[in-house]
Amino acid sequence: MSWTGRLQCTAVVKDGRTVISDTYNEGALKLMRPVYLDSAHPTLYLVHVGGGYVNGDRYEINMKLESHARLMVTTQAATKVYKTPYAPVGQYTQFSLGDESVLEYFPDPLIAYEQARFIQETVVHVTSRSTFMYGEIITPGWSESGQLFRYDWIRSKLKVYQDEALVLFDHLYLDSRQHLTSMLQLGGYTHVGSLVALSPFITKEVLEQFNQFMEEMPQEVRCGFSAAAVPGFSVRILAYETSAIEAIFQRIHQFIRHQCGEKAPVCWRKY
């Protein structure tokens, strides 16, 4: 089967700085020239050259970080999934992280419009000495009728393997036809945020600090977080708007960067 868009690259360390090599792309996915928000670590912006994802589209992203490489990845704009009357859209992403590499992956929100069906599978290979951060936001798109949740369904899987053992499997399935408004599901909220951070820097002490750090939460969100089976944690947020989730993500992101010895706050400089 052919791909609507494909993208591959490798991040390697050269003279103390991470550079991107072996870049390959085809079809609707492109990579902008890496931006160095600080002098040693590049930020990559994924670009979709069409207006959005449509019927039957299939995308593949493959990124490799060699030992000590440090990379931030985001998108240039929100991922929009439109009507998929015949076949769902599929996006398959693979990250492979070498020892002591750091990947921060914070794409813009996924917006699923009326009658959209979307499958996303992200497979990540880490070692016990790499750091992986991933924040994802799923939002319902505007519909002609003004009703929410006009998308059909969204299935998003994140599988993290540490030294070949599956250590974390986050499987979200939002189906607008199946009790999505129940309090066991979205319970009246519309936007879903998921964040995973796995890192040897997230020790027991750091987790305790994180507990305190998370005590102050805005009233208008519902948020849960818990320690993972390996050093790290996952966070789930339900909210009414993207910005509320983004604000929390940014705070958590800062917190982890601080623990990893990076004092400077991130600014994606997108807008």
């Binding site: 599988k159 399935y173 507990n211 339900l238």
Partner: protein, 225 residues
Amino acid sequence: MTDQQLLWLLQLSDSNFPSGAFSHSFGFETYMYNEQICDAKTFRQSLIVYIQTQLTYTDGLACRIAYEQLKANSIEGLQRLNETLFALCLAKETREGTRMIGERLWKLCRHIYSVDELDEIVQTKQSIHPAIAFAAVGRKIGATKQTTVLTYLFTSVQTMVQNAVRGIPLGQTDGQQLLVMVQPYLIHATNIIEMLGEEELGAAAIGLEIAQMQHERLPVRLFMS
């Protein structure tokens, strides 16, 4: 089903069967604490969604897949399933609780039903997910796949109802009425589970997951998860 099989299943699904499941609310206590579950009506609504989500896509489907893999004698498949089921628990208390229940259930069943099919997994992984242990017992006593899955669903729901009777609290009659009420839902879920693809395993109920995570920090707790 033979009379002996029936007796085995009755024993296994007894709410006093000491698997330790009665110490866990799997996130429901958070809703009770927040008074979102506060009577038979509110509990009933959540219980039905619980059957249609968590029990269908995770526990029930896992039990079915485990039964099939036991039949095919696929130790590798069972190991992968076991690993997947623990990786799916994002909330620490639920993960640890499931581990404890699995261990106790396995030890007991190994002892009383002499099931040894899973010994190879235990050697490498230590704990077995309750759904897999249950499937092994179902196979051992010669229950069909459908009956094994249905009994497992009933056992899980029965524990939740008993916990609600203590936790909300509800009257004993309310509890028994709920167990009658869920019967068609359990039968329907078993039929759905038979048709699901393995790639659907573990689809989470996100609000419940948050409740399971928040449970760690509840100031007053009756249950361990």
